[in-house]
Amino acid sequence: MLSNIGIALVILVSILSSLIIYTASVNLKTSKQVISKNIYTLSLFQTTFTALSFFTLIIGFINSDFSLINVYENSHTAKPFFYKIAGTWGNHEGSLLLWINILVIFSYLFLIFNHSHDKKFRLYTLIIQNTLILGFLFFLLLNSNPFNSIYPIPLEGLGLNPILQDPALAIHPPLLYVGFVGCSIYFSAAMASLISGYGGKLFAKSIKTWVKISWCFQTLGIIVGSIWAYYELGWGGFWFWDPVENASLLPWFAITALMHSLIVLEKRNTLYTWVIILCLSVFILSVTGTFLVRSGILNSVHTFASDPSRGIYILLYLSLMIFSALIIFFLKYKKETNNFNLRSRETFILANNWFMVFFLVTVLIGILYPIFLDVLTNVKISVGPPFFNIVIIPLVIPLMFLMAIGPKFGWIKSQNKILYKILILICGAIVINLFIFYFFGAYSLLSNLIFIAAIFLILHSFSDIIKSIKKKVRFELPRIISHLGFGLLVFFIGINHQFSIEEDFNLKVGEVKKMNNYEINFEELKTKENKNYKAVIGIFKLINHRNNLTQNLKPEIRIYSNPETLTYEAAIKTKITSDLYLTMSNVSRSDYYNIKFQHKPFMIWIWISALMIALGGFIQLILKKK
């Protein structure tokens, strides 16, 4: 029954989308300055029915209605309630329905919040957005339908993968999707702007909020994914330059560049063509990322169960999108004159874009190169963390310097007085860095530069905060917080990298491992039977000889029966000053256990700084509304 309801709703939405496109095209030709009421009504119905179709699927999961193949494959009666709901979007078909929901919601919101803008522009945006929606609806109906039914109805579902039952993992996809898919609206708006000729400051104003929303959610989504990886995947790392992670990073670089360029477009009415290119690129990168992740073309820890037919559909969609964007762009773009003085804020924003594009291209090449090499020459190589770190990290240093001094410059032209303050703060940064270097441990030249640049950015941000408070202005605060967050993030990642202790060794029960300041005692092994798994718990006593503190750490090996999986639960003690991390895995056919121990200073501050970056963005959204 649910299957029929679901499919009916989806078909209804498809019809409504087509009607919207038709009505909008007709409305374009009339001379009236307002958009016809019908379009608003159709859009509202479209949004309602799309949401209903999603609720239908959720109900299927809550009720464990195994007549739906999707529920059968991804759920189980024993799953906790919260995770049953999260299971709705934790699979390919369900997430596609969520994508469509976001496409539709953003389409409707853009329509109703942009009353003051040009009618033709809004109508074209609506038409193109709904074309995108129709494309996804076809994909859903023809290839990845969450409402496909199965008969006879199975008694129990298959989907009890324990790794997926985690709160962070439940919210990570929706957050990321608002970022990934929310950028569709300014893709459509950019196309509409080219076609209708509605550009400049007003165009910037119309898409500003949407760019910020997608940026905030994309940033938050990536951070939550990292936090989840750190706490759940048992390796002590939080970023692996894994292809799926990289796929989420690509749009992020582009949206960050876009966000900054929009400021210039709004303030100085220049960089319009570049903004259009960025708007088009962001959603193209999102869909490219989706293609890479879901088609099975890549080998990664994160990949969904892959299916080549999906790949063909997404590739087709991507091709149509890219070609239409290119054709419209080349037909309609106009040459611009740009006036950029060296010592002006707009040039520094241009520099930001320069770096963002560089990072974007690096990550893109890193992902695509092995694929191209394999297809063209049959040689398989790996492009992993060393490549990305070597190319990107050295350039983060000049970026941070620019981030600190850029905002100091005024629009159009600036004086040299600014240089004095910069010099003072650089000296301050060098002094603090030397302090750390001298008292805590030597590190390489590059790390020195990283710390100096990061501290420089941090000091600048603090001085800006003080200035803002004194002058009682608030509008600078979001930028300061985000830039400060970035500086702190680089600083704490640097500290973590330099001063972490990592050991990998094998131990039997009863044995002791002695390290520089620590002693780890493998005291005993316990087993425990839980509802859906059996746990083998290792009791470890950790003695810190520097401060004579003793801690107990209890990593687990979990053996699940349904489906049969093995997971390794790390024992993580998080404190404000450091994290202690211990994982254990058994060495096959032996009494030995492989132990990985890590002491990570200021680990939690990495999360706090990263969240600060997102916080700045959210604050700016709220501030504007006032």
């Binding site: 060296l342 040039t347 594009v357 560089f358 690096t362 190169y369 040689v379 790996s382 492009v383 000049p398």
Partner: protein, 125 residues
């Protein structure tokens, strides 16, 4: 202006080579740079598989014998192919991989340089 460009490029070269020569002779760094052949996208450091355990033993032995990081990678590459090492080699095959990002960086720099210079030119006239 030219001096600034020179400084920037030499900075990139120095910083990058400084980064690559860091972390020599660290066992865990070698583990992190090796790929587990029987896992889905995990390094030898992160993997709990049997294969990873064996590779760790071999790497430890070679370290004790005094082999450098590069020699270990060369040995494993000769047995398992380039796929097993996460850092792509600086070879003819991978030239584009290493070259393109920097090409884009330099190209982008030129564009900004050109824009700023034209503005100065227009302002003067």
């Amino acid at each position: 202006m030219k001096i600034k460009i020179f400084f920037f490029i030499s900075y990139i070269l120095i910083a990058t080579s400084a980064y690559t020569s860091e972390n020599q002779n660290n066992l865990l760094e070698v583990y992190k740079n090796l790929r587990c052949l029987v896992c889905q996208g995990q390094s030898i450091a992160d993997s709990n598989s049997d294969f990873a355990a064996t590779i760790k033993l071999v790497v430890q032995d070679q370290f004790k014998e005094g082999k450098t990081e590069d020699e270990i990678y060369k040995f494993l590459t000769s047995k398992y192919g380039e796929w097993i090492v996460y850092q792509p080699s600086f070879s003819k095959n991978n030239f584009l991989l290493w070259f393109l990002p920097y090409a884009v960086l330099i190209f982008g720099g030129f564009i900004i340089f050109a824009i700023v210079r034209k503005t100065k030119y227009n302002r003067v006239n």
